[in-house]
C-alpha cells in the first residue's frame, strides 16, 4: 500500500473514532442531540412550562407544578405577571389580564393629568381586585349603586 494511501486510511480511522466518542457523550446526557455542545439543554422536570433553570432563578420548585399552592401552575403565573412564590398573588379567576407595569406605578395624585392612587376592592368573585393590575390599558370606572 502506498504511504499516502496508508495516511489517508489512518486519518479516516481517527475521524471515525472521534465520531464514536462524540456519540458516547451524547448518549449520556438527558436530552442529547447532535448540537449538544452548542445548544443549552432545556429541561422542565415538573412540566409547568418553565425550565428548571428558570425555576431556579425565580425561586420556585422545579419538581412542583404549583410552587406556592394557590391553584395556579408556575408557568401560568409567569405568563400572567403574578408571583409564583406568593399564594396571595395569582391570576384572576375570570381571566382579567394583569399588566407587568403594576409594580412600576408611582401615584402623584387624583387630579386630571396625575397618576391616581391604587386601590384593592372586593369583586363579584370574592377576589380582591387591584387597580394597578390594569395599568397597561385605559380604564373606565363607572360608579353606581344598587338602588
Amino acid at each position: 500500500m502506498p504511504r499516502s494511501l496508508r495516511h489517508a486510511c489512518l486519518a479516516l480511522l481517527l475521524l471515525a473514532a472521534s465520531g464514536c466518542d462524540q456519540y458516547s457523550r451524547d448518549q449520556g446526557s438527558s436530552r442529547g442531540d447532535d448540537d449538544s455542545d452548542s445548544v443549552p439543554q432545556w429541561v422542565d422536570s415538573d412540566g409547568d412550562g418553565l425550565s428548571d433553570e428558570e425555576e431556579s432563578a425565580l425561586g420556585t420548585d422545579a419538581d412542583e407544578v404549583d410552587s406556592d399552592g394557590d391553584g395556579w401552575d408556575d408557568g401560568d403565573e409567569v405568563d400572567s405577571s403574578t408571583d409564583p412564590t406568593d399564594d396571595d398573588d395569582h391570576p384572576y379567576s375570570l381571566g382579567w389580564g394583569i399588566d407587568p407595569c403594576r409594580e412600576d406605578i408611582d401615584s402623584t395624585g387624583n387630579q386630571v393629568g396625575q397618576v391616581t392612587t391604587d386601590f384593592e376592592l372586593l369583586s363579584q368573585t370574592g377576589e380582591l381586585v387591584r387597580l394597578y393590575d390594569f395599568c397597561g390599558r385605559a380604564v373606565l370606572m363607572v360608579t353606581a349603586a344598587f338602588w
Binding site: Q111, T116, L122, A145
Partner: protein, 82 residues
C-alpha cells in the same frame, strides 16, 4: 377595561360579594364589579361634596387621570386608548 364601582346595595349598605355577583349575573357583566363602601374610592374623583350617580372616571395607561366625576364620550375613550 371597564370597572363598576358599587357604593351601596338596596339597603344603603356596603355591597357584599353576593350582591355583586347577583348584579353581575343580572346584567351579564364579565368585567370587574367592585364594592366601594361609602364611595371611598369614588370620593377621590369627586368635583364637589355631592355624588350624582352614575358618574365616570377615565384613566389612560399608567393609571393617569383623564376624566374625573363626569362622563366619557367615544372620542374621550378613543383618546385614552394606548
Amino acid at each position: 377595561m371597564v370597572i363598576s364601582l358599587m357604593g351601596e346595595n338596596n339597603f344603603s349598605e356596603a355591597p357584599s360579594q353576593s350582591d355583586l355577583a347577583d348584579w353581575a349575573e343580572d346584567f351579564g357583566s364579565t368585567h370587574p364589579v367592585l364594592a366601594d363602601p361609602n364611595f371611598a374610592v369614588t370620593s377621590r374623583f369627586l368635583n364637589s361634596n355631592t355624588i350624582a350617580l352614575p358618574t365616570a372616571h377615565l384613566l389612560t395607561t399608567g393609571a393617569q387621570v383623564v376624566i374625573r366625576d363626569g362622563w366619557a364620550s367615544s372620542s374621550d375613550l378613543n383618546g385614552a386608548l394606548p
